[in-house]
């Protein structure tokens, strides 16, 4: 019973993804763009960073300007994760009251 249920769920999801992958997609006659699953619309973000990062932040290293300036929240999260990791290690390996020294 359970195997049959799993098979049905698997076939449903598999057929959905196969349909989306084979689907020719929508054609926008105004701009001539062709939207297919897996090849999304072109975005401007990468060109924006390459052309403006040096002028806006003054850093030659565009990766650093993204990590610490444009995506500062991400770095704040990473730093908090490291802090929490040290906190966890310190709690797990702390000297208990019964331990000597």
């Amino acid at each position: 019973m359970r195997n049959i249920l799993m098979l049905i769920v698997f076939l449903t999801i598999f057929s959905f993804f196969m349909y989306v992958a084979i689907n020719p997609g929508d054609f926008n006659s105004q701009t001539g763009e062709h939207f297919v699953f897996g090849s999304p619309k072109f975005t401007d973000m990468d060109n924006y960073f390459i052309h403006n990062a040096q002028n806006q932040t003054g850093a030659n290293n565009v990766v650093t300007s993204i990590v610490f300036d444009y995506r500062g929240f991400d770095t704040l999260g990473e730093a908090s994760v490291l802090f929490t990791a040290v906190l966890g290690v310190g709690l797990a390996l702390r000297l208990l009251r019964g331990d000597k020294k």
Binding site: H51, Q56, G58, T64, A79, L82, F83, V89
Partner: protein, 152 residues
């Protein structure tokens, strides 16, 4: 404590490892690398000294409380630097192109790279580097404090 050969090598090598780590941190806005990577390199130097001399001898030189305090100070500096620019937005680069500390302009395109640029990025790199070296060093010290030294 390891043999005399290992201790001599560690004595010779650890200043160079620390200098290389601080170089990576200080040049984070010019070359590949940055706070996390440079802090990890500095923590490698600390690990070399800890392994060469053993926890029992090292614990009077490097204290766990010092390392954890270093880590907290680094994280606080990072958050404070982000908060100074809160007049415009959180993580606003208020020093960039201002002419003050780290405030020189840089021209678009290929250039040799100057240290006195990039605004708050070097400060944040330094803060994250301090935090990572304190955190990884503290983890190492906590783990080494539960090992037992065996005499051969």
């Amino acid at each position: 404590m390891m043999s005399k050969i290992v201790r001599t090598q560690a004595n010779f090598l650890y200043p160079f490892i620390l200098i290389f780590g601080f170089y990576i941190v200080a040049h984070g806005h010019l070359t590949p690398g940055g706070g996390f990577q440079g802090g990890a390199v500095i923590a490698t130097g600390i690990a070399l000294v800890i392994v060469a001399y053993g926890y029992d001898r090292i614990k009077s030189w490097i204290k766990k409380s010092t390392l954890t305090a270093t880590e907290s100070i680094g994280l606080l500096c990072f958050i404070l630097t982000a908060f100074i620019g809160i007049g415009t937005s959180f993580f606003y680069n208020f020093l960039a192109n201002s002419g003050l500390l780290f405030g020189d302009r840089v021209s678009y395109g290929v250039n040799p790279g100057y240290l006195n640029t990039a605004g708050t990025l070097p400060i944040m790199n330094l803060a994250v580097g301090i935090e990572v070296l304190g955190g990884l060093g503290a983890i190492l010290m906590y783990m080494m404090s539960y090992g037992k030294e065996v005499d051969k």
